[in-house]
């Protein structure tokens, strides 16, 4: 049974006086308005945050209709897992109109995980190795060595993020920054500089989903969710906070997840007109382009220099500025990507609209400890 997205909304990301939960309420209400269905019509809801509380508390504001509201907490795949659950609820006949919502609000600065939560000794914290940004630096360092990716390319990815963010009203970073300024912004974890990273922030996104039949009945401006997939890591992948990496070429959970999403959708990477790829930092977008099947390893150097990933390019990537320009409220990030693709496929993206009526979109998140969620969307 095909599942359609009939309502989509997001809030302005960044930092404000709002709570994460406030963002969640705003996004859910706006998605319902966009869908043209009242909350009383929703039969089930799935949602969550990583650090801003339980999503089911939203019923206090949305209305006490008594529906099942399942809390999801799955790191960077929180949105993807909520979406997958919504699809299954519709396919399984649990409900015909379902809400998926993700929100978050994080303190300033890098995330600070505790060694014990990762099965590591306290020495990893004492000696300064519990730092996620180190991992990102080390992964792209090796990748750049093997596949000829230059610092200039990493800077171009961030430059594009800020340029697209400037065209996105709800983005956090809306000031254009040149590649030269990005390269000169101060090394954080070699080869990544300060402006190549996203920051933890706040925000929410929500979607209203239903069956194809009901979408027609509602006369909704809908987008088909061709597939929604979540995967955990295969053996031999290189992940954050790993004391050891097994011999051999590292594998990738993003490759596994993207391939499964394309297979379930019956569509391949070459059919995609617009995509959103996890860009925790510039290197991630570069690597995920190849890991998700959009190019061969090493091809990014030429593609990015030629503008292929720009809004007017062959494969526009992170048209809303991605995590780099929006920040990363973990629970909201995956649904923000889906919102962006839905907006692009509906032709409602304004100043950042991909030209030529895009028909197929793809979204991808990756996170610790080796989880990836992907979707394929079509008009």
């Amino acid at each position: 049974m095909s599942v359609h997205i009939v309502g989509a909304a997001r809030t302005a990301f960044g930092r404000s006086e709002l709570t994460g939960r406030d963002h969640g309420v705003h996004a859910a209400r706006a998605a319902l308005v966009d869908a043209g269905v009242p909350w009383s019509r929703v039969g089930a809801a799935f949602g969550g945050s990583d650090a801003a509380g339980n999503a089911d508390t939203l019923v206090a504001d949305l209305g006490l209709t008594g529906i099942p509201f399942v809390n999801v907490r799955n790191g960077c795949a929180t949105g993807g897992s909520a979406l997958l659950s919504a699809v299954n609820a519709i396919r399984g006949g649990m409900a015909d109109v379902v809400l998926a919502v993700g929100f978050d609000k994080h303190p300033r600065g890098a995330f600070d995980p505790r060694p014990a939560d990762w099965g590591l000794g306290e020495e990893y914290g004492r000696e300064g190795l519990m730092v996620t940004t180190q991992f990102f630096g080390m992964k792209i360092q090796r990748y750049a060595h093997d596949h000829g990716i230059t610092p200039r390319t990493l800077a171009l990815v961030a430059e594009k993020a800020y340029r697209n963010g400037a065209r996105t009203p709800e983005a956090w970073r809306r000031q254009e920054i040149t590649a030269e300024e990005i390269l000169a912004s101060g090394m954080v974890n070699d080869p990544l500089t300060r402006f190549m990273f996203c920051s933890p922030g706040e925000g929410a996104a929500a979607l209203v989903l239903c069956s194809a039949e009901l979408a027609r009945e509602l006369g909704a401006d809908s987008v088909e969710l061709r597939s929604a997939v979540v995967r955990t890591r295969p053996p031999g992948s290189f992940e954050v906070f790993s004391p050891r990496l097994d011999p051999g070429e590292p594998t990738s959970v993003s490759t596994v997840s993207a391939a499964a999403a394309f297979e379930a959708a019956g569509i391949g990477p070459s059919d995609v007109d617009v995509c959103q790829l996890q860009d925790t930092e510039s290197g991630a977008e570069v690597m995920h382009l190849a890991e998700c099947g959009f190019c061969a390893h090493g091809e990014q150097e030429k593609l990015i220099a030629a503008g292929a990933t720009e809004i007017g390019g062959e494969l526009p990537v992170n048209t809303d500025g991605g995590c780099i320009a929006n920040g990363e409220p973990i629970g909201a990030s995956g649904l923000r990507q889906v919102y962006e693709v839905v907006t692009q496929l509906r032709g409602r993206a304004g100043a950042r609209q991909v030209p030529g009526t895009p028909r197929v979109g793809f979204t991808h998140v990756y996170g610790a400890p080796g989880v990836s969620a992907c979707t394929v969307l079509a008009r």
């Binding site: 600070d112 306290e122 020495e123 300064g128 519990m130 080390m138 060595h145 070699d190 097994d246």
Partner: protein, 78 residues
């Protein structure tokens, strides 16, 4: 002690959050961290205790030293 070569590396340029990080008595100074590839092809995460941070590169030969209660440390093979 195990000999190996640097498989990847980075430099921790900013002080990690304390706690859990214990700032050295002399104050925070940037340090190198990486994965050192050993004979069987496995890569071990280690603090790279090198004299000159700008000398760290993929393929650099290092010796890993492990001690109870410490993360592995790797030093240059002289």
């Amino acid at each position: 002690m195990t000999d190996g070569t640097v498989w990847t590396w980075t430099v921790q340029r900013f002080p990690p959050k304390s706690p859990p990080y214990e700032v050295p008595e002399a104050g925070f100074a940037p340090f190198a961290v990486g994965y050192v590839e050993v004979a069987d092809g496995a890569r071990i995460e280690a603090v790279l205790d090198v004299e000159d941070l700008s000398s760290v590169h993929i393929g650099m030969r290092l010796r890993i030293e492990e001690a109870e209660g410490r993360v592995p440390h790797a030093r240059e093979v002289l």
